[in-house]
Assembly symmetry: D2
Homo-oligomer: 341 residues x 4
């Protein structure tokens, strides 16, 4: 691991939308690091980013990047279905690992990955970026501080503003709606409620994004949660919020409640004969851009200070387990106890 005086050499694997974001953040906004290498099969995308960000080492294959002994840490931002294999390869190459969520699509595969990481004794952080959002962090601090008493119910709503593009819509690759969209909410549920989920029930439906019928996925789901301590929860995920990106979370406690999220984007209101109108957050980056930056900075800082990152493999396993349980519950129409998985 690098000492304090020399910057960490970071490699980004995959230069899709998320990979480009991470590359840009590393190149311009994260302190104590250099963007040292990228790997991407698409030559033109790779070359464009490498030129723009002046990246000294570019590779077609992830394996080539992992073989570079100068690389201290990697950011894995490839399609979900390749995460598990790449994390294991990176662990074997003794790189510190930041992996976009989810680590894997099944509980079994997640466990295999965690074993590999554990044996390799490398650092692992998983991309639950909402934990690094200022509002969620303040919410968590207020709960820990007892400001709302004992958490009683958890409510979350995650709504995307469009149907998934065909190339991202195969549930075999994305994990399906509940895994793909709900996993952030399931992670927040555990983190904010301070209790593990015991049982879930769910309903799912395909209502608007009719193309998903071909691949066997749905576009809306509601999931009930029962926590081990008796607290309750509900999570809604939807692809049909064509008005904008809408992420809201509420925690009701025995002494008060917290609400995180709003849909207003810029602080501009227009009043006309039709009423008052404001714009809605268009998508992910407008809401969580700062959180993406903060989670990468956290990763870099933990590596430099040789601390374990806050959001690691066990969190990935726990959220994945809830998502698998909820997906099973909606498919079977029966509640699923997590201890039965």
């Amino acid at each position: 691991m690098s000492s304090m005086s020399t910057p960490l050499k970071m490699g980004v694997i995959g230069l899709g939308r998320m990979g480009q974001l991470y590359a840009r953040l590393l190149a311009t906004q994260i302190t104590g690091v250099v963007l040292y290498a990228v790997a991407e099969v698409d030559t033109s995308a790779r070359q464009k980013i490498a030129d723009e960000l002046v990246i000294p080492n570019t590779y077609r294959e992830p394996e080539e990047l992992l073989e570079n002994p100068e690389v201290d840490a990697v950011i894995i931002a490839t399609p979900t279905s390749t995460h598990a294999e790449l994390v294991m390869a990176a662990a074997q190459a003794k790189k510190a690992i930041f992996c976009e969520k989810p680590l894997a699509l099944t509980i079994e595969e997640t466990r295999i990955v965690l074993d590999a990481v554990s044996r390799a004794q490398v650092a692992l952080q998983v991309g639950f970026m909402r934990r690094f959002d200022a509002a969620y962090q303040e919410a968590r601090a207020l709960i820990v501080d007892g400001r709302i008493g004992q958490p009683v119910t958890f409510k979350a709503l995650s709504r995307d503003p469009f149907c998934p593009r065909r190339e991202f819509s195969d549930p075999a690759k994305s994990g399906g709606l509940i895994m793909d969209m709900g996993i952030h909410d399931f992670d927040l549920a555990r983190w904010l409620m301070g209790s593990e989920v015991e049982r879930v029930s769910a309903e799912g439906s395909l209502l608007v994004c009719k193309d998903l019928a071909e691949v066997g996925d749905i576009d809306n789901a509601v999931v009930n949660l029962r926590f081990l301590n008796g607290a309750l929860g509900n999570v809604e995920v939807s692809r049909n919020a064509f008005y904008g990106y809408d992420i809201r979370t509420e925690i009701l406690g025995s002494e008060g409640a917290l609400q995180i999220g709003r849909h207003q984007h810029t602080p501009l209101l227009i009043l006309t004969r039709e009423g008052a109108q404001y714009n809605v957050t268009p998508y992910l980056m407008e809401r969580f851009g700062d959180a993406y930056r903060a989670q990468l900075q956290h990763f870099a800082q933990c590596l430099r200070e040789e601390r374990t990152p806050d959001v690691g493999g066990e969190d990935a396993l726990a959220a994945c387990t809830i998502a698998v349980a909820a997906t099973t519950a909606y498919r079977t129409g029966q509640p699923v106890r997590l201890s039965d998985l």
Copy 2:
């Protein structure tokens, strides 16, 4: 039935909190009616209201009031467990009937009541006052008008600011948390989504109002709904919103979404070093006072115009069925299809 020129003679049965409200509304704010009679076993309460509102006929027993042939219509505002019997007696006495929700606590009893009302050919309105709230009415009009496309998900949250008083906490009399609090949401679900509920699953828990353990009730529940047309829903009911009375409803549609409800009470904001602060709606009347007035006016107007009131026995049966299904679902931990009840 009275002609347009003479006012309807109304009798109020039960002068608890709701009965007093209805009596006052009839005496001061509803046009085309006179508050002609009341029945209440508590002599002092009866006398106080009769004096204050100058009511010409006062009775101890409901039966006495029903025997008065001058009474055109009755408002039944007694404890829930007596509703069924009184509605049947009023029907037999050929009175038009306004009954506080719910009509009865079981599906079977509700059906028996509806049969009696049907045979007697009297008008019946059930107290789902939220349907008369300006915001819900506008929401319904926007949905019918197609402004949000096809309704996709329904979300409702009903939170009371205190644990029930001991005398109202027996689920044998109240129907229990889900029946008592959720029935308004189940009625709104059918009305706003334009589809019947097919299946429910639920989780319930006793977390804060520990006295409810004695009577076997809970203080929090989350209920998933699947509608016949494939739409989904979720309802949360809680007794633990000690910050205030909080009723919110959202409908996501294929072209837009609606949100009804806010917790701010008066339009006053205070900003100090601790942040910005506003007061929360304390309880029922501050939020739905106008709706209570409007539903009584609707009842009176329907009687005068010999129209069937908008919210009748079939609505009461449908909402009761969902509440029974949800209560069963939380108790058994299994989803319940409404067609199996």
Copy 3:
């Protein structure tokens, strides 16, 4: 004056929009009173209201009503330019008086009226209904309680949603824009800031309601206030808020700030591809209906308890003086010290 056991007999003079409102409130929502008489020159309007509200005595001329010795108190709701004369006549007839704002259009005339009222020793309340709005009352209580420290600046904005109708647009009768609309804000300024106004400067302009050019009035004005204690203020009045009725007030203090008012009407939000949208308060009654009721109840209660009403002639004089000063300031383009008037 009536004793507690018999209701006060109230007479309403003038059955325009405001007079009808007061008549209805007295007939249905104010306790301890009967609507005993009305005076209105328009026979058809008089007859319609008298029938609807079952008013026992109807008159064409105010003088006839004032001659009825049974009438305890009168509500003067005629055009502004007749207020002064009618208040003096009512005082001479020894009636308690509630008069719509303003009492008179000039400082001199206001003083003459107050002298007459004082000599007659009758109660007088002036219709500054905002003081009876729950939000303003809470604001005042918070200020008195020291919650925002020493008041530093006062900001008010009063916007009407339409140009005045021709029959109400003559400044000789209305007092002009600043008197007609600003007088509520000037009254609130004194009441909330706890200090008198020392000096004003103002700008006015005719921008949209071009018909006002004929009568020599304006449709927009901004007024700076300097209070005797050094605090500052600003009031905007406008006829051009075609989006709705918009009344907002802010007080900045040395320890915090208060904001009163919002433009959202019903708690309904619609989200579409165009953004989020809500409806705006259409006009006066939707915002201040409850305050109108509360101020009349206050008047009735003060009479019954033989207390002096809270908002009396001195308040009318003080607000009128500010309005006259501000109107002079905008006309001359020079600041006006109130002590010079």
Copy 4:
């Protein structure tokens, strides 16, 4: 001027709070530039920033930096009273210039500076960063698009959360309250209303920051504006918003209105028995951080494309003139016509 292929070499003069911000932005977030030089008399501050941001050239005196022929452009972020002299020196050295607002504290000095810049034919941008805020930009676009009709009134409120520190409180150096805080609002007024200011009147007061008495400044002011086209405006500036940083602007038009600004900081709401509470924007950077970045990027891009920056010397002169007029108006208690200055 640099060609597209080589980055612009930027020098920052002054490393106080604003200078450090600009240096950091240039070093990490602005594309097409390198932070090539800094000048700062405080050796330790200079060395710290130079090390952290790896700046190749560091100087004690601005003149030394200006003598470096490699420097293409300078950012002047020294105390206000030195702006004029440094801009002239930079112009003479043929550097492109970005200068923090205001350019100078008097109209005469501003004119002299503009002459010097004009003769030197160098680019000049002035730091009215609010014009680069997303909400203000959208507001301007909506107005230009006619969405609110003809602008009728302009309202602005700028409130700082603390009294100025002693070293920044001398009005001879800051220009005093109205110049220091109001200049942004005066610039927005011209830009958003599309008309020049014709006349101002003002009131000012020292109410809370008592230390300002020594230097002869005030902590609160209200300013009325009359625009050449007859539109009206009002600007409040205050040092006493101890609850947080509060910048709000409204434009009322003949067909609608716009509101820009809100005080909520993170999208987090806490509800307790005391009501609902949210945090307020603490200070400048939390509200306008993105706008500071965007204005620097605009400057760099204009230089590379050899375009004139959008916010130049004439804008600085116009806003300065309004500020001088308003300061004179408050001091003399008389309205001031800008054409008389």
